[in-house]
Amino acid sequence: MIDRSFIGRSFPSLTTGVEAGRLRAFARATGQRNPIYWDSAAAQAAGYRDIPAPLTFVFTLDLERDDPFYFINEMKIELAHVLHGEQSFTYGVPICAGDEVTLISKVVDIYDKKGGAMEFVILETSAQNQLGEDLGSMTRTIVVRNPK
């Protein structure tokens, strides 16, 4: 069982840069067809300061840690038993190449179903840029399949 005292707990914040090269690699890896996601000139012509981070990119920024599975390991969850159950995003100011983003993650809830055979962890992450502007937030639900 995951220690329920993690509910309400925040993890150390992360500040990380949004790199144009990383955005280009992400566009290539995801079959992106819109050039604003890899070409600065196309992005600027479309009204962005620089290449915009795509809709799911905050998830990638949060993996830029010494331990990308920080909350899973800290809660002593076996990574091999983890599935991604749900993911949601809300959006504020656009994130563009060159930004510095600060992320703060907090455990919103932990609960179980099927007599503890499945546990659920809900982690909410808020994001701000270098100007202190709200970039929105993301919430992930991970499912832990506990062996019998």
Binding site: R22, A25, F26, R28, A29, T30, G31, Q32, R33, N34, P35, I36, A46, G47, P52, P54, L55, T56, F59, T60, L63, E64, P68, F69, L79, A80, H81, V82, L83, H84, G85, E86, Q87, S88, F89, T90, Y91, P94
Partner: protein, 140 residues
């Protein structure tokens, strides 16, 4: 991309309208390796068959966030990204290696404040739904 004549407006959309579907190329092991590197999600269950088998899976399988990125492309091919206010999905089923994923969506509600609610979905070549989600966009 967003030429004026192609701009989707609140007045121009109706409940039931379908977004232009996007079919992606078949997901190969290379796709997953490149996505692991680009996304920073190095969970070996997606790239290391030995690890996947030890975890009781028959093979590696796609990152849920790869399919969510595909769903994101569906939205931003339809409206500028700045129009998207909310975007969420449930990961309904595992996406097997070699799957050909098609993303579809439709308008389900028009609300005050020029907001339009969408239902979106990623399904494989057999029509099996992998991701079922929603989005809220604010249109001019």
């Amino acid at each position: 991309m967003s030429s004026v004549e192609n701009t989707v407006t609140f007045a121009s959309v109706q409940v039931g309208d379908e977004l232009p579907a996007i079919r992606q190329r078949a997901i190969s092991r290379t796709t997953l390796a490149l996505f692991a590197g680009a996304s920073g999600d190095h969970n070996p269950i997606h790239i290391d068959i030995d690890f996947a088998k030890a975890a009781g899976m028959p093979d590696v399988f796609a990152h849920g966030m790869l399919n969510m990125a595909y769903l994101g492309h569906l939205l931003t091919a339809w409206v500028p990204q700045s129009a998207v206010r909310e975007f969420s999905t449930r990961f309904v089923a595992i996406t097997q290696i070699h799957a050909v994923v098609t993303c579809t969506g439709r308008v389900v509600e028009k609300r005050g404040g020029n907001l339009v609610a969408l239902e979106i979905e990623a399904a494989d070549q057999n029509g099996e739904v992998k991701l079922a989600g929603e989005a809220l966009v604010e249109l001019p």
